[in-house]
Amino acid sequence: MALEFIAEIDANSVDTENLVFSAIPQTYESLRLMGVGNTDYAVAQSMGGTFSLQFNEETTDSKHGFMRIAADYYQILLNIEGTYSDNTAECGSMSGTTSESGYYPATYIVDIYNYKGVAATGSVQYFARSTTATAANQYSHNAYYAGTYGNGTTPITSLQLKSALGNWMRYSKFSLYGRD
């Protein structure tokens, strides 16, 4: 399986709520998103921050859905059985600015399938992994996410990465790859 670099985006010039990959090539079998990030929001504890995907930058279509299995600092979280008909698709968390005197980045790997709008393979799907470990572990998490977006036969040509609470802080950075 070949892995080819497509593009990189970051919040290095200014903190921002949304980071966007556009003009995504339609020549791969699947996509892989890799990166680090944190929010400027004062997250209460544990998995208070939310990293979401918005396929084709759609924000009002209610076609996103996701589920989650995770561990936070205190416990093994129960399964989030599924949130459907939403405008975003959750795929990660982060520790925020009050996380024990430090800015601990969360680390993300997100694989995206069926993104070309091929009817035979159905809607776009993703599988994400998100982790952080902080000094006293009160903001730590390990999480798996699976989700979808009802794109039908519409290709995914852009992908919005949303920091749902506050902005991505300036070291946040993501790289997008295509896989044959």
């Binding site: 290095n12 890799m34 680090v36 980045p105 982790t131 952080t132 000094a135 390990n142 790289s175």
Partner: protein, 200 residues
């Protein structure tokens, strides 16, 4: 020549391996020593990806540890492991281990049978970035996952793990050296393979 130095010499300043693939092997080791250090890691990639396979054996190996430069890790280094063995899900949170261990990265199956193997993979994102300060601080981090199945017996393991460093004396960005270790130092079986890749 230390591990990693050979690849660095080949790549030179340009950092191009001449391939269209974004992923290139930096170094592969079949050493059976429990601990292995990659030194002189080229600074020409975006990410590091480490893959470790361990054939089955009757020995008791225990857990997986890693560190970037110092051992034990600085006081502000932490990991959290979400793992499942058989039908039970468990969370483990911790920090620096004793001298000679580094930071615990994973719970391995300590009773692996001879008919199976263990697999571990870790990714250090943007390892060659500078550290910065304040809200632009880029502390080092990694994400890992793996499994240790054991057909015909108990003790199936799988895990997802976080590795982060913050501010202590051992914190380093960029990462130029990585040590990985399994268990208590007991030699690993023949067939053990550890490969460090660079991802452009």
């Amino acid at each position: 020549m230390p591990l990693g130095a050979a690849k660095a010499a080949l790549l030179g300043a340009a950092g191009s391996g001449g391939s269209d693939s974004a992923m290139e092997p930096i170094e592969t080791s079949t050493s059976t020593a429990a601990s292995l250090t990659f030194t002189s890691i080229p600074q020409t990639y975006k990410h590091l990806w480490f893959v470790w396979t361990i054939p089955g054996n009757a020995s008791n190996w225990g857990n997986f540890y890693a560190w970037a430069t110092t051992d034990p890790m600085a006081g502000d280094s932490r990991s959290q492991i979400f793992y499942q063995y058989n039908a039970t899900r468990v969370k483990w949170s911790g920090g620096a281990q004793g001298t000679g261990y580094g930071l615990k990265m994973a719970y391995g199956d300590d009773n692996v049978g001879t008919a199976t193997s263990q697999y571990h993979e870790f990714t250090w994102m943007y390892y060659s970035d500078v550290q910065g300060s304040g809200t632009t601080t880029r502390w080092p981090s990694a994400i890992g996952q793996g499994y240790g199945p054991n057909p015909g017996a108990s003790n199936f393991y799988q895990y997802l793990t976080a590795w982060n460093e913050y501010g202590g004396a051992g914190t380093v960005m960029p990462i130029t050296e990585l040590t990985v270790k399994f268990g208590d130092g007991t030699a690993l079986p023949s067939g053990t393979t550890r490969t460090l890749y660079g991802i452009n």
